[in-house]
């Protein structure tokens, strides 16, 4: 299936390589800048003041920042896993089968992508306030805004992004292999597990990366659905920036980067351990 033998040749290949190089340079330029200034001994980001690691120390000793980093990672992990499962299932259901009211669901699936951030933030705030009130009154429970409401909101916008990426992969994918497998008396599940699934893994991986990124980056919606003492790192950073960008914020970003790299490495390792492979 993989067409690794059909690499372009000559000037086209050279142009493609140069383009790829430039794109990576573009992506990493600001990252290098922010990483460099996280070691600068000057409060003003953009002015080099000699090498120091004190900003990392400041970050480490700030329990509010470290605890919100932990919240961010937990939210990102949980919301990515759930939205990848739900989003992939939805993509399969919509792309592989014809059923009534499919079009309607199609539209519903697009809504979270289309809606502006603030609008979603406001509506989630109203919804959770109202929902928690109602639940607590009806069942005498003690729900409050916090980790759960943040995670539920992140899942709500991630599902759509995952399913769009997975569907781009599924659309027009040849069904012949799966049909063939079923003709050989493999069960539907087995045919899916051993034939279709490996083919769509790149789409799922892309969707998962997207969901993870969206969750780690969201400020506006999280700000409105977070509860006391339970908010994510980006929200903390957002309010800090108001009072001035100091390199401690750069240090936070570098730590965030390393932490998410570890998260990805961990998930790959788990997959390897279970005998799977993330390659298509």
């Amino acid at each position: 299936m993989s067409g690794s033998t059909v690499k372009p040749k000559g000037p086209v290949a050279a142009a493609l390589t140069v383009n790829a190089f430039l794109v990576y340079a573009f992506f990493f330029l600001p990252i290098v800048i922010l990483a460099v200034f996280s070691f600068s001994d000057d409060r003003l980001v953009g002015r080099w003041g000699g090498f120091t690691t004190s900003w990392y120390g400041e970050f480490w000793n700030d329990t509010e920042l470290t605890s919100s980093l932990w919240v961010s990672l937990r939210v990102a992990a949980v919301s990515t896993v759930i939205s990848v499962v739900l989003g992939t299932m939805a993509a399969l259901g919509l792309e592989r089968f014809r059923w009534k009211s499919q079009r309607f669901f199609d539209s519903v699936l697009y809504l979270p992508i289309i809606i502006p951030d603030v609008t979603m933030a406001v509506m989630m705030l109203l919804f959770f306030t109202w929902g928690i009130d109602l639940t607590n009154e009806a069942f005498g429970t003690n729900f409050a805004k916090g980790f759960a409401t943040i995670t539920l909101s992140h899942i709500a916008f991630s599902i759509s992004f995952v399913s769009v990426v997975v569907r781009a992969r599924l659309a027009g994918m040849s069904l012949e292999l799966e049909e063939a497998a079923r003709d050989l008396y493999a069960s539907r599940w087995k045919a899916f597990r051993h034939v279709t699934f490996p083919q769509i893994v790149p789409g799922i991986a892309g969707g998962a990366l997207l969901a993870l990124t969206l969750s780690l980056d969201d400020v506006v919606i999280t700000q409105f659905v977070a509860g006391p003492g339970g908010t994510t790192l980006p929200v903390r950073v957002f309010s800090l920036i108001r009072k001035g960008v100091t390199p401690v914020i750069n240090a936070v970003s570098v730590v965030m980067l390393v932490a998410s790299l570890l998260l990805v490495a961990l998930s790959v390792a788990v997959q390897r351990l279970r005998g799977g492979s993330i390659t298509g």
Partner: protein, 321 residues
């Protein structure tokens, strides 16, 4: 494209065929159901609440009175300022999407033609910068673009500034051919050039991922076949590659265009918010004017129009996405 399931195996009687179709419908529905239920509860219901607010009235304290329903907020959409803001935002979003597509397509193709192990590494490296922090990245761009920043130095070193000066110094009769934004190129911070740069940076991965997913899936021997049949490279691209990767192009364009249209942080940080864009217009209604009904009405209309646009796309045969 063949998304629809092929007819079932030979010798199927009409009844079993219908039964098979019904079973298929069930399977599709059940697969989609969990996401469906989830979005109904945690998205459509909240959206309903906001829609309700769009028909309500702002009270003196900036709260919203949920009574005395009216269409006043929708009537305001007719104001000329709304149109100005809308067209300006649409234009910037289109430019951003086109630039992203032009950059991302060859890039995605490049990744898709590497060995599988290399591909994954390359993809992860696309995403790594985005695990830092959205705001901090934007501020990093500000450091790059500011006076005497790296961008300035690069412009000076390459002589781009001299070129721009020369272009702007050309006689009147040819000036029309030179786009306005050229003059902002040497110092793009707080101009539309800065905004587009920031938006392209922020949303490029949203274009790359679906494009990659779509291109990687294409059986590249088709391209070989096309080349064997003496099609030129351009013909192959136009007749084979692009049609086959269309689902990725459409998905990527939507994922870039839509958030660009609603963006407000990047235009604020890199554009200085001197001209209002749709995203910040909505934010102002919710968070500054505390006029939730109008903010809600703007959002509802935006969502409805976008939804309609995607629907029309499906109607016109672009089913696959």
């Amino acid at each position: 494209m063949n998304g629809v399931a092929p007819p079932p195996a030979v010798e199927a009687s009409p009844e079993t065929e219908r039964a098979a179709l019904r079973a298929d419908a069930w399977r599709g529905f059940l697969l989609a159901a969990p996401a469906y239920v989830y979005l109904m509860v945690f998205f459509v219901v909240p959206l309903g609440i906001v829609t309700m607010y769009s028909f309500a009235t702002r009270n003196r304290q900036g709260g919203t009175d949920l009574q005395g329903w009216n269409l006043d907020s929708y009537a305001r959409l007719d104001e000329p300022i709304v149109r100005t803001i809308l067209f300006r935002s649409l234009w910037l979003a289109v430019v951003t999407t086109v630039i992203c597509l032009v950059i991302a397509y060859p890039f995605a193709y490049f990744i898709a033609t590497r060995r599988p192990a290399v591909r994954n590494v390359m993809l992860v490296f696309v995403m790594i910068p985005f695990w830092t922090n959205f705001l901090v990245r934007n501020y990093a761009w500000r450091v790059i673009l500011e006076n005497d920043g790296i961008w300035n130095d690069a412009v000076d070193a390459t002589g781009t500034d001299t070129l721009v000066d020369w272009l702007l110094g050309l006689p009147h009769w040819i000036q029309w051919a030179i786009p306005n934004w050229i003059e902002h190129l040497p110092s793009p911070l707080f101009s539309e050039v800065g905004i587009v740069l920031g938006l392209v940076y922020g949303f490029l991965p949203f274009m790359i991922l679906p494009l990659y997913a779509a291109i990687e899936r294409i059986d590249l021997s088709l391209i070989e076949a096309s080349r064997d049949l003496y099609a030129s490279g351009r013909q192959t691209l136009r007749r084979v590659l692009i049609p086959l990767s269309m689902p990725g192009i459409v998905a990527g364009s939507i994922l870039v265009f839509v958030p660009s249209l609603g963006a407000y942080v990047t235009p604020q940080i890199l554009g200085g918010d001197k001209e209002t864009l749709l995203g910040s217009y909505i934010v102002v209604q919710f968070l500054t004017a505390r006029n939730w009904p109008f903010g809600a009405a703007l959002s509802v209309v935006l969502v409805a129009v976008m939804l309609l646009a995607t629907r029309i796309h499906f109607r016109s045969g672009g089913r696959a996405l």
